[in-house]
Every structure is written in structure tokens, then in C-alpha cells.
């Protein structure tokens, strides 16, 4: 129950963030979506041993976070919550990898490098996906998908599923409240009624959802949200996309941290 309420809360947090009015929020949703896709592709294209190469890619999420005024804690929370799966798969790397590397005089399995690389990639990709929704919002993103010619029926399905999550969770908390009033002093819901409880939840949500949908139709809903405020692509948007893409490509082709280091050492040498 706590986790499910948490879900609603978390979605609410991201929804609220998407309502902000910052320079990042004003960028065209399609551009933000495309930039994210380019970023993700470039990041996962790195080999399994790369570490220093990946570090420059922190620039993008950090800058978005700062410019879009996104608080660090909720994003970090989310990132931590999804890491166990990655750790579960990656933690065996050091044991399966037979090659060793000498670092500061001690020899360690090369698997630690692949493990750290995996963790970095996970952190970057998760952070950037969250940034996308926190700066764009579901409705705008749906509009961007429509511009990409994604069929109306899928976009509608996406929006309704998203909206009905809160309908479902509200229905659930109503049922839990009613149940706990009928069964004072009982901890949780008795296993014997789990089945019918869940079934009732589904039916109640369906009835409610149908009414919501009917009233939307009664008010002229034709399967699409009409968003008047999504402007056409501007030069600014294109420049945003191109400059980020260029930066990603540069960071992909050159090991920037190594170049920085070489620069420092060459200056120190003179």
C-alpha cells in the first residue's frame, strides 16, 4: 500500500516539475525527445570497459537539472531504486572476468571496470529519462509522439493509462479505508479476501473510468488533447538539438578527460 501511494506521489512530483516555466521547459517537446534518444544511443554505444569516456556525459543531466530547476533528491531516489537489478547482473563481472589490471600496485579483476562502467551507464540513462518527463510532461510528450506519426489510438491509450493510474489508486485507498473501518484492529487485509478485493478494485475502477471517459466524450473529446500552446519548431530549438548532438558526438569520439589531463601535464612539464 505504502509503495503504491508512493507511486502516485512520485508521479505527482514529476507532473509538478513539468509544469514549471524555465528555458528548458519551453524547448519544443519533440526536440527534447529526440535529444534524449540521441544521448541514450551514444551512451549505450560505449564498450563495456569504458569509464573515463562516460564522465563528460554527466554534463547533460546536470545542466538540464540546473536550468530546469529540478531538485536533486527525487531524481537520485529514483536512480537508487532501479540500481539493484543492474548491481545484481553486474556484480558477478569481477568474478567472471579473468583478466586482472594493476591499479596503484594492487591487482584487481578487470571485471570491476566493467561493473563500474555498467553502473555509470545505468545512472546516466535513468537520470536522462527522468529529466525528459520532468521537463516535458505527459501531455506534451504525447503531442510529440503524434508529431512523429505515432498512431492516435496508441497515444490515447498511453494518456488514458497514465490518467487512470491515479483513478485506480484513489479507488484503492477508498477501499482500504472502508475495509479498515469495517475491520478495526486488524493488520492489513485478510488473505482470504485478497482475490475479491483485487477484483472489486478492478471493477470499481472500470466503472469510474468509463464514467470519466463518457463525460470526456460528452464534452467533445475526440481522442486527442488539443494543445494550443505547442508552437512550431523554432531556430532556437534546432540549435539546441544540433549543439547537444555535436557535443555528444565529440565526447563519443574523443576521450575528453584524457585530453584535459594531457593538457594539464603538458603545461606542468613546461
Amino acid at each position: 500500500m505504502a509503495t503504491i501511494k508512493n507511486v502516485l506521489f512520485n508521479m505527482g512530483v514529476l507532473d509538478d516539475l513539468a509544469m514549471k516555466e524555465t528555458s528548458i521547459h519551453r524547448i519544443h517537446p519533440l526536440i527534447k525527445l529526440l535529444t534524449t534518444v540521441v544521448y541514450l544511443t551514444v551512451v549505450v554505444s560505449f564498450g563495456k570497459n569504458e569509464i573515463s569516456n562516460l564522465l563528460p556525459f554527466f554534463l547533460y543531466p546536470v545542466l538540464i537539472m540546473v536550468f530546469a530547476e529540478i531538485p536533486v533528491v527525487p531524481i537520485l531516489n529514483r536512480m537508487v531504486l532501479v540500481t539493484p537489478f543492474i548491481i545484481g547482473i553486474g556484480i558477478l563481472n569481477p568474478f567472471f572476468e579473468v583478466q586482472t589490471v594493476v591499479v596503484f600496485g594492487t591487482s584487481i579483476s578487470q571485471g570491476w571496470f566493467t561493473f563500474v562502467s555498467l553502473l555509470l551507464k545505468s545512472a546516466l540513462t535513468v537520470a536522462v529519462s527522468l529529466m525528459l518527463i520532468a521537463t516535458t510532461g505527459m501531455n506534451q510528450l504525447a503531442a510529440a509522439l503524434r508529431m512523429l506519426k505515432v498512431p492516435k489510438i496508441f497515444v490515447l491509450q498511453l494518456l488514458l493509462t497514465y490518467r487512470y493510474i491515479s483513478v485506480l489508486i484513489e479507488e484503492l485507498s477508498r477501499m482500504v479505508r472502508a475495509y479498515s473501518l469495517r475491520a478495526p484492529g486488524q493488520k492489513g487485509i485478510h488473505p482470504r479476501v485478497w482475490g475479491s478485493f483485487v477484483g472489486q478494485l478492478l471493477l470499481r475502477t472500470y466503472d469510474r473510468g468509463s464514467r470519466v471517459y463518457e463525460s470526456m466524450n460528452a464534452r467533445g473529446f475526440s481522442g486527442e488533447y488539443h494543445r494550443g500552446n505547442i508552437s512550431k519548431l523554432k531556430g532556437k530549438d534546432i540549435a539546441y538539438f544540433l549543439s547537444w548532438s555535436l557535443l555528444f558526438m565529440l565526447a563519443r569520439l574523443y576521450d575528453l578527460p584524457l585530453l584535459i589531463e594531457a593538457l594539464i601535464f603538458s603545461m606542468g612539464g613546461e
Binding site: L40, V44, L63, L92, L118, Y162, L168, G199, Y213, P257
Partner: protein, 350 residues
């Protein structure tokens, strides 16, 4: 079972995305032909329901891991395969965006793993077949259980294949498969129970929902030719790669056992690694640069040649990269803090 972006290479992710897009486009077409206005809110509600139930993790005893139901069978039975597949796609997109669970690049792979096998294989072939002589509670139970088990086994197996093909981890294929399949057997039993319970309940209380979901998609209407076509494509994507993999890897289990026993016979693993690495270098913009033989405890390695081909961490690069890497991170953080300060100041002024 949601795969993360970090585990996939662009080629595997892209291929799966293409496969999923194709199936989704086909489903959309099929749905538009007989779209029932009542079905739209039902799709949304069931989607929300599966979404919430995927959030509930139950512990799997003895593994230290936990699982959640996939929900693909429930979607297929209540909504029919086409709407079920599309709803699964919507659920996974929301999870990727809002929770970082799965990922945008891994989106195609996830929808395929959780949606395709359940909606287009387990549902028409197993569930529909078991309930062909009319729907009873017993048949619902048997059908749900069996199809959920099969659907999840196929799905988790393709997670293994996609991960191994991507080459981002060192997990040997067989070890990973031996971890994944039994765990998903346990999850499959829970999934089967939940599916059967919900379907039975809906059938008892609101049979018309079930009918509406099922009408229009009996087995006769699911064109087997198309399903087979999709299967062939899926086979090419998954199975073809699989057989290639199997042939190049003599025995992964033996390899890992030898390894734990302490014998370091690298030759056994050499071929598969080089194969994987060749694949990897296709996906990378630049092949791994710089390779220096690492210090090995055992200098008399007979497999030096195959070792040579493996991309190693360039010792010089990775160790010296610490300074440059630390500096890069510092620059990023300082830049962030500075901009935030400037923004705050600006706001204070205005």
C-alpha cells in the same frame, strides 16, 4: 524483468525496437478495424491495473531477489491480443519515463519480452486452445497458469539472449540462463494464480467485460499466417542469433565450473568472447582503442592469441584517466553549482 538501457547495445536495442514497432503497427491496424468505444476506457483501466501490480515486488525465497508479475496474459485475456500488446507498450513507456524502470532504448526489448510472447504466442496457442470448448473456471485456471508460465519463460529467456548479445556484462550465457529461468518459473506460478483469480472474478461478476474482450479475437480471427510471419521474424532476431551463439560457445557451464575450480583455461571462452567482441565493435563508433596485455598470475597462457583479440582495459588509459575523469566531473559539478547560484541571484534581483 524490465531490462535497463545500460545492459543493451544500440544494435540489440534498435532491432528489438523495430520488431516491437512492427507488431504495434499491426495491432493498431487490427484494432482500428473493429474498435469498440467501450473498450477504450477498459484498456486504460486494465493498463493502470497492471501498472500498479507491476510495482508490487514479492520476494522470491532463497535467491535474495524479488519479482513482480508481468501481466501480459491478463492483458491478452481481458483485452484480446492486439489491445493487450498496445496496452503493455503504454504501461512500459510510462514506467520507463516516470520510474526509470526499463529504459527508452530498452523499450522495444521490454515490450517484446513481456507483451509479444504472452499476447501472440501463449494466448492464441495455449489459452485459446485450452478454453476452446467453452470457458469454465477450471479451464480458466489451467489456461492462465500454463500460458503465464510459458509466456514468462520465453520472455525471460529472451532477456538472457538480449543481454548476452549486447555484451555489456561478463555473465556467461548458461549461468545467466540458469539464474533467470527458475526465478521466472516461480514468478510465473504467482502470475498464473493472479491471472486466473482476476479472470475468474471478472467472469463471475461482469461476464460482459470478458465477452467484449474476447469477441472479435477468437483463434479463427487471429490470422495464423500473420502470427507465423511474426514468429519467423522473431525467430530471425532471437533464434538465429541464438544458434550462432550456441555453436560458438561449446559449454558455458563447464567453463564456469572450471573457473571456480581454479583452472584457468582461457581457450574455452576465447571464441565466444571474440565473437561477442566482434559484434560489439560493430556497434561502437570506434573500435576499442589501446590494448595492453594485463599482468596475469600465470604467464604461460596458451591462449595468448585469442586473449590478444579481447578488448582489455588499457592499463595506462584507465589508471591515468582517474585524474582527467575526476577533473571532468569536478568541472561539471562546479558549472552546475555556478549556474544555480547565478539563477538564484537573478531571481533575487527581479
Amino acid at each position: 524483468m524490465h531490462m535497463a538501457d545500460a545492459l543493451l547495445s544500440p544494435i540489440v536495442g534498435g532491432t528489438m525496437l523495430a520488431a516491437t514497432t512492427g507488431i504495434a503497427a499491426y495491432s493498431v491496424k487490427k484494432m482500428q478495424n473493429n474498435l469498440d468505444e467501450k473498450k477504450i476506457p477498459l484498456m486504460g483501466v486494465i493498463g493502470a491495473f497492471i501498472f500498479a501490480s507491476q510495482m508490487i515486488n514479492f520476494a522470491i525465497p532463497g535467491t535474495g531477489s524479488s519479482g513482480h508479475i508481468g501481466g501480459g496474459m491478463l492483458l491478452a485475456i481481458l483485452l484480446g491480443p492486439y489491445a493487450g500488446f498496445l496496452t503493455m507498450a503504454a504501461i512500459l513507456l510510462i514506467q520507463a519515463l516516470f520510474f526509470g524502470d526499463g529504459g527508452l532504448l530498452a523499450f522495444g526489448a521490454n515490450v517484446f519480452n513481456l507483451g509479444f510472447y504472452t499476447c501472440f504466442i501463449a494466448y492464441p496457442i495455449i489459452y485459446k486452445w485450452l478454453t476452446r470448448k467453452g470457458v469454465t473456471s477450471k479451464r480458466i485456471f489451467g489456461g492462465s497458469m500454463l500460458s503465464a508460465l510459458v509466456g514468462l519463460q520465453l520472455g525471460s529467456f529472451s532477456v538472457v539472449i538480449e543481454t548476452v548479445l549486447s555484451g555489456k556484462t561478463e555473465l556467461p550465457f548458461s549461468t545467466f540462463a540458469l539464474l533467470m529461468q527458475p526465478i521466472h518459473l516461480a514468478i510465473g506460478i504467482v502470475e498464473g494464480l493472479v491471472t486466473a483469480a482476476v479472470v475468474t472474478f471478472v467472469r463471475k461478476t461482469r461476464p460482459e467485460i470478458l465477452e467484449r474482450g474476447a469477441i472479435g479475437q477468437p483463434l479463427g480471427n487471429v490470422p495464423m499466417k500473420r502470427v507465423l510471419g511474426a514468429l519467423v521474424i522473431a525467430g530471425l532476431v532471437v533464434g538465429g542469433a541464438m544458434s550462432w551463439f550456441a555453436s560458438s560457445h561449446p559449454d558455458g557451464l563447464e567453463w564456469s565450473m572450471e573457473k571456480t575450480a581454479g583452472t584457468t583455461e582461457l581457450t574455452t571462452s576465447g571464441s565466444v568472447y571474440t565473437a561477442l567482441d566482434d559484434f560489439q565493435s560493430l556497434t561502437a563508433f570506434l573500435p576499442d582503442y589501446g590494448f595492453k596485455e594485463t599482468v596475469d598470475e600465470n604467464p604461460a597462457v596458451p591462449a595468448a592469441e585469442s586473449e590478444e583479440k579481447r578488448p582489455g582495459v588499457n592499463v595506462g588509459t584507465s589508471v591515468s584517466g582517474i585524474v582527467g575523469g575526476g577533473l571532468t566531473l569536478a568541472i561539471v559539478v562546479i558549472l552546475g553549482v555556478l549556474i544555480r547560484l547565478v539563477k538564484k541571484k537573478k531571481r533575487a534581483v527581479t
